[in-house]
C-alpha cells in the first residue's frame, strides 16, 4: 500500500452501508447461490424428475388411469422432494454456518442477525421456487407428450405445495437457531408429519380417556401448523373445484405462521452465543 492509498484509507471514503432490504436480498441471493452449487440439490431434483417420468411407465399399465397416475405421482413427487429439500437443506443453512464458523466472517459486517436469518429464509424459498418450477415443467412436459390438454388446476395444487414448503422452511430455520442440523431436521420432520395429523390430535380426547390429554392435544393442535390446509392434490387430480378463496385463506394462514416462526427464530438467534 503506498502513501497515497494510505491517505485514502485514513480519510475514510466509506459508503453509507446497504439499505436493510438490500442486505437481506444479498444474503438471500448468496444463499440461493449456495444451494444451487450444492450437488445434493441436483441429485434430488434429478431424482424427482425421474420419479415424474416413471409415472409414465406406471400409467401405461393402468388402463384408462394413466393421466390420473401421472398427475398423482407428479404432484406427490413435487411435494415429497420439496419437503426433503426444505428440511435437509433448510435446517442446515443456519446450523452449518454456526458449526463451520462462517458466521464469524458475516456477523461483524454491518448486518444484524435478524437480517441474516431473513436472508437465509428467503434464499431457500427462492431455491424452492426454482426447483418446484423445474419439477412443474417436467410434469407438464410429460402431460404434453401424453397429448393431454393443459390442466391449469394443477397449478393451484402446486401453489399450495409451495406455501407448505415455505412454512416448512420457517419451521426448519426455527429449530436450526438453537440445535444441530441433524436434530433440527428430525424436529422439522416430526412437525411435518404431526402437522398432517393435527386434526386427528384434536379428536384424540374423544377416543382416549385421560385427565390431561385434552389439554396437551389442545395445545399441540393450535401450536402445530395444519399442513392438510395445503393438500388439495387429490381434489385437483379428481377434477374437483378448488375455490380461489381457499387459496387466499391458505396464503394468509401460511404468511401468519411464517411470520410468527421467523419472529421467534430472530429472537432466539439474536440472543444466542456462538461457539
Amino acid at each position: 500500500m503506498n502513501a497515497v492509498a494510505g491517505r485514502e484509507v485514513a480519510a475514510g471514503s466509506r459508503a453509507e452501508g446497504a439499505p436493510v432490504l438490500r442486505k437481506i436480498a444479498y444474503v438471500a441471493l448468496n444463499t440461493y447461490r449456495e444451494t444451487v452449487r450444492d450437488k445434493v440439490l441436483y441429485n434430488l431434483v434429478l431424482f424427482a424428475l425421474l420419479m415424474i417420468g416413471s409415472s409414465y411407465a406406471l400409467g401405461a399399465i393402468s388402463v384408462y388411469q394413466e393421466i390420473k397416475i401421472i398427475k398423482d405421482l407428479g404432484l406427490a413427487s413435487i411435494s415429497i422432494f420439496g419437503m426433503v429439500i426444505a428440511i435437509f437443506i433448510g435446517t442446515g443453512l443456519v446450523s452449518k454456518e454456526i458449526d463451520k464458523r462462517t458466521l464469524y466472517g458475516i456477523l461483524p459486517k454491518p448486518i444484524s442477525r435478524s437480517q441474516f436469518l431473513l436472508g437465509k429464509y428467503f434464499g431457500l424459498c427462492l431455491t424452492l421456487l426454482v426447483n418446484v418450477g423445474v419439477m412443474t415443467m417436467g410434469l407438464y412436459l410429460l402431460l404434453f407428450l401424453m397429448k393431454e390438454p393443459f390442466a391449469p388446476g394443477l397449478l393451484k395444487a402446486i401453489f399450495l405445495i409451495y406455501l407448505e414448503l415455505a412454512l416448512l422452511v420457517a419451521v426448519g430455520i426455527l429449530f436450526s437457531t438453537f440445535t444441530s442440523s441433524v436434530l433440527a431436521g428430525l424436529f422439522a420432520g416430526f412437525v411435518y408429519v404431526a402437522g398432517y395429523f393435527s386434526s386427528d390430535l384434536k379428536n384424540l380426547d374423544s377416543v382416549v380417556e385421560s385427565a390431561f390429554l385434552p389439554q396437551v392435544t389442545f395445545v399441540l393442535y393450535y401450536l402445530l401448523p395444519n399442513f392438510k390446509n395445503f393438500d388439495v392434490k387429490a381434489a385437483v387430480v379428481a377434477g374437483d373445484p378448488v375455490p380461489w378463496s381457499h387459496l387466499g385463506w391458505a396464503s394468509a394462514y401460511s404468511a401468519i405462521y411464517v411470520t410468527l416462526l421467523l419472529v421467534a427464530s430472530c429472537w432466539i438467534f439474536g440472543k444466542r452465543n456462538l461457539k
Partner: protein, 311 residues
C-alpha cells in the same frame, strides 16, 4: 475517544451436562486502545483472548460489563461499517471463489459494483491472491485462506482492524508480508488490534500490549514500560579456547560451555566483556559472534504466566 474501550467486561460460560457450573472465561477486563496504534493481546491458551475478540465482534454477549468501539456500542451498524475482522483459522463459504467472497462482503458494506470490483482487484493483488482469485475457496490451502481472510477484513477500508492470530498458517514469506501490511495499516492511520501466540511478532509490531492469563488482565501498556530493555548480559561465541587459556583468564567468565568446536561465554557487563575478549584474542582465540541480551517479551510473558499459575 478511544478506538476500543472495555469496562469490567466479563464472560461466564455454563459448563457440564448434568451438574451445570459457571466458568469465568474473562474477568472484568478494563482496556483502552488508542486510535492509530498497533495493540497486541497476548496470553496462553485459554487466557481469554478469543473470548475478548468474540465479545467485541458481537459473536457472544457479555455476562457483565460493557465495551465501545470507536465510541459506539457493539451492536451499532455504523460502528460495524468502520471495522474489519480476521477470525482465527478463518473459514469462509467454500462454494464461493475468493473474488466472489470479497464482492459479497463488499455488498454488505454498501459498496457500488464498480467500487467492489476495483477494491477486490486491489486487495487480491495486495495479499498475493490474484492468480487464485477465481478458484473456489474449498481448494484453498490454510495459508491462502488466511490471505483471503485479511483481504476480506480490509474490503471496506476500515478505521480499525481486529486480527485473531494473523500469522497462523502463513509461511515465513507470508508472515513477513503480513507484518509489512500491519505496519502499512498503522502508517495510514488504521488502528490494529491483534491477538497472537507468536511473541516475537508482537514485540516487533506492537506499540502497546495487554497480557491476559486465566481471563484476567495481568499487565497493559507500552512494551518499554513492561519489559526491561536494559542490557542483561553479553553472549559471546569463540573458537580455539583451550583449558589452558581458560584457566589464565579464570573467574571473569560468567558461563562457559562447549558448543561443538566453539565455546559459548556469557558476561554480565560490557567492560568485563571488553577486557576478557582482548585477552582471548591476544591468546589466539577467534571471535565467532557477540550478542547483547535483553529481556524479551517472551521472558516477561513466561514469568507472568508462571507467577499467575502459582497463585
Amino acid at each position: 475517544m478511544h478506538a476500543i474501550e472495555t469496562r469490567g467486561l466479563t464472560k461466564d460460560y455454563v459448563v457440564g451436562s448434568f451438574v451445570r457450573k459457571k466458568k469465568r472465561a474473562l474477568d472484568a477486563l478494563d482496556l483502552e486502545v488508542e486510535g492509530g496504534e498497533i495493540f497486541g493481546l497476548i496470553g496462553p491458551n485459554g487466557a481469554g483472548k478469543t473470548t475478548t475478540l468474540k465479545l467485541l465482534m458481537g459473536l457472544i454477549f457479555p455476562s457483565e460489563g460493557e465495551a465501545r468501539i470507536l465510541g459506539m456500542p457493539l451492536d451499532d451498524p455504523e460502528m460495524k461499517q468502520q471495522i474489519g475482522y480476521l477470525p482465527e483459522q478463518p473459514y469462509f463459504y467454500d462454494y464461493l471463489t475468493g473474488r466472489e467472497l470479497l464482492d459479497y462482503f463488499g455488498q454488505l458494506f454498501g459498496l457500488s459494483r464498480e467500487e467492489r470490483s476495483r477494491r477486490s482487484g486491489e486487495l487480491l493483488e495486495k495479499v498475493g491472491m490474484s492468480d487464485a482469485a477465481d478458484v473456489p475457496l474449498r481448494k484453498y490451502s490454510k495459508g491462502m485462506s488466511q490471505r483471503i481472510g485479511i483481504a476480506q477484513a480490509l474490503v471496506n477500508r476500515p478505521r480499525l482492524v481486529f486480527l485473531d492470530e494473523p500469522m497462523s498458517g502463513l509461511d515465513p514469506l507470508g508472515r513477513r508480508e503480513m507484518s509489512l501490511l500491519i505496519r502499512e495499516l498503522r502508517e495510514t492511520g488504521v488502528t490494529v488490534f491483534f491477538c497472537s501466540h507468536i511473541l516475537s511478532d508482537v514485540e516487533q509490531l506492537c506499540d502497546r500490549v495487554a497480557i491476559l492469563n486465566r481471563g484476567r488482565l495481568v499487565e497493559s501498556g507500552r512494551l518499554s514500560g513492561i519489559i526491561d530493555l536494559s542490557l542483561r548480559s553479553l553472549e559471546v561465541v569463540v573458537e580455539g579456547l583451550t583449558p589452558d587459556i581458560q584457566s589464565r583468564i579464570g573467574g571473569s567468565l560468567l558461563l562457559s560451555r562447549p558448543l561443538g568446536a566453539s565455546s559459548h561465554l556469557s558476561f554480565r557487563d560490557r567492560e568485563e566483556c571488553d577486557r576478557t575478549l582482548r585477552l582471548l584474542l591476544e591468546n589466539g582465540v577467534r571471535l565467532v559472534s557477540l550478542n547483547p541480551v535483553k529481556e524479551t517479551l517472551e521472558d516477561y510473558f513466561i514469568r507472568q504466566v508462571n507467577a499467575g499459575g502459582t497463585e
